[in-house]
Amino acid sequence: MKQLSTFLLSILAFANAGAQNLNRFPKPDFESGYQYPDAHYALPNEQLWLVIDIILLVGLMSFVAWAVIKKQTRKPIIWVSIISVAYFGFFRSGCVCSIGSIQNVALAFVDSSYAIPLSVFLFFILPIVFAFLFGRVFCAGVCPFGALQELVNIRNYRLSKSVTAVLEVIPWLYLIFAILYAVTRTSFIICLYDPFIGIFRLGGDFGLILFGVVLLIASVFTGRPFCRFICPYGALLSLFSKVSIWKIQITKQACINCELCHNACPVDAIKPPYENKTKEERLQGVKRLIMYFIFLPLMIGASGYVMHYASPGLSKAHKDVKLYNMLVEQEANPQVLIPIELEAFYSLGGEIHQLKQEVDQVKAKFEFYSLIAGLFIGLVLGLALIKLSVKRSRKEYEIEHDDCVACGKCFSYCPKNTFIIPENLLQADETNNI
């Protein structure tokens, strides 16, 4: 027995950790006519599922668009939500999703070696195209995350304006950081910190599932906290929704300023009438505009500088940089027990100067992209501040189309939609108004 163990130990000392095809023992010649078992591995029909995904995505979005633009009803959206949570959420385990596809597209833009799968690109562009045509119909119920929050939503306690104003900046910052980490090939942080994926997969990181559950509980009391204050894709869609070609209307008839739709809106996208009483003079307005023009570039420049300054710190999240730092520490202060990463690095015959070159490239990339990210952060913060001081007068209840998620809740609350007024009465009413 002792002999055996020494024999094994000697082999262990001889063997490297690398996993090459080692022919230590010759192929046996079987005399009993033994046949090698056939090796075949299950291949699900992945292409088919991808096609179904895309068809369903387009189909559901068209259905929602028809419901909110043409029919002005909410019922189909509930069905779409249930289908989406069941199929995109639980059945397809929520991957790939449009929110995460931002990162693939961003990476494909800057890295020519990265080949983006067609399905991922379609997941990215189709909801944007639909947002450009009909508003955020994707958010309404096709997105499993939005649908899940929508389905549990019961009450709409409104958050105060100041809190909302601060929280609304988060999606933009999240978007910028996600793109920064994607283009530097560090990590896909949107996928990494996805709060709902653990719920859809019925398992995962405990902290994230807890976060997802907290978000879901919050969305019982206030509409869609994830969509409004976290979702980076929603931020992107809001740009297109704002200028969309066909827009959602609360009612096709004249507004009677009854406030019911405003109370019903889960995402606070319906703004009450507002009369700007403090009329400012033209000169004052021009002065304010000039102030903005000075303030915004200052803000952009400052934040660009800060991010550029912070880029070495940001680059520490990159795998190569982490490994390099570990190596430097190990070389300076050798330890007997080394981490798995270093073990792998040494056993695969890695060269430290080669790694250093790669790390330098990564750091250079980080310096450049952090600067750009900083400029955008400045722009976002600056515009958010400017938006706070801009007052726009409204005569009636209006939808802010960038915030509207096309959930269709306002339709049934509008008395003008519920009571069908006879044609002749309506005409008389209109003539009276004029």
């Binding site: 095809n21 023992f25 046996p28 079987f30 009993s32 494909a108 450009f132 997969r201 073990e343 792998a344």
Partner: protein, 191 residues
């Protein structure tokens, strides 16, 4: 106020409407531009889509078991019979330095008993992996690579993998062994 109303009559389109049109054009243009730029990205051929382990790079660190998003990892041990030496004393089957060489559980490498052993003929034994039991811990792979022919290796099972946008194991893999492969190379196998 009077001036403003005057202007409205004079200009063919209002200011707000003009800005909105401008926005629409920019938005539409950017959609077209993005699509146009992306088209030659996937016209070239099949894109890499499916996560696979390169068995030549794998250092069997054991993170595949713990870091997969699935509660039972999609990484399983695969046995390449054509490389296997069919040894009686198998480095992937038995633990090293065991007291008695029998098939009692405390002597076996696999913590879940997923490796099955069948007598073929003297002195050869056939080893097969029960995939339902395998948890991808790589203990047997380590043993087989250290003492044997390296016929046991880890691979991501395509029917189990949820095909995450970014593979959690790929991110923590110490030797960068996990990458995406095109559909045509369904499995990276050792043969």
């Amino acid at each position: 106020m009077a001036m403003k109303e005057d202007k409205k009559i004079k200009s063919p389109i209002e200011r707000r409407k003009f800005i909105k049109m401008l926005g629409t054009t920019v938005a539409g243009g950017s959609i077209l531009a993005t699509s146009g730029l992306m088209i030659n990205k996937f016209v070239d051929g099949e894109a890499d889509h499916y996560w696979q382990i390169d068995p030549q790079k794998c250092t069997h660190c054991g993170r595949c078991e713990t870091h997969c998003v699935l509660s039972m990892s999609a990484v399983k041990c695969i046995h390449a019979n054509k490389i296997c030496g069919y040894c009686d004393l198998c480095g992937g089957y038995y633990r090293s330095n065991v007291k008695d060489l029998n098939t009692a559980a405390e002597n076996l490498m696999c913590p879940t008993g997923a490796i099955q052993r069948k007598f073929v003929e003297d002195p050869y034994f056939e080893y097969t992996i029960d995939e339902d039991l395998c948890n991808g811990c790589a203990k047997c792979v380590k043993g087989c690579t250290a003492f044997g022919n390296g016929s046991l290796y880890l691979q991501i099972k395509r029917d189990l993998c949820t095909d995450c946008n970014e593979c959690e194991i790929a991110k923590v893999c110490p030797s960068d062994a996990i990458s995406r492969v095109p559909l045509a190379q369904a499995y990276k196998l050792k043969d």
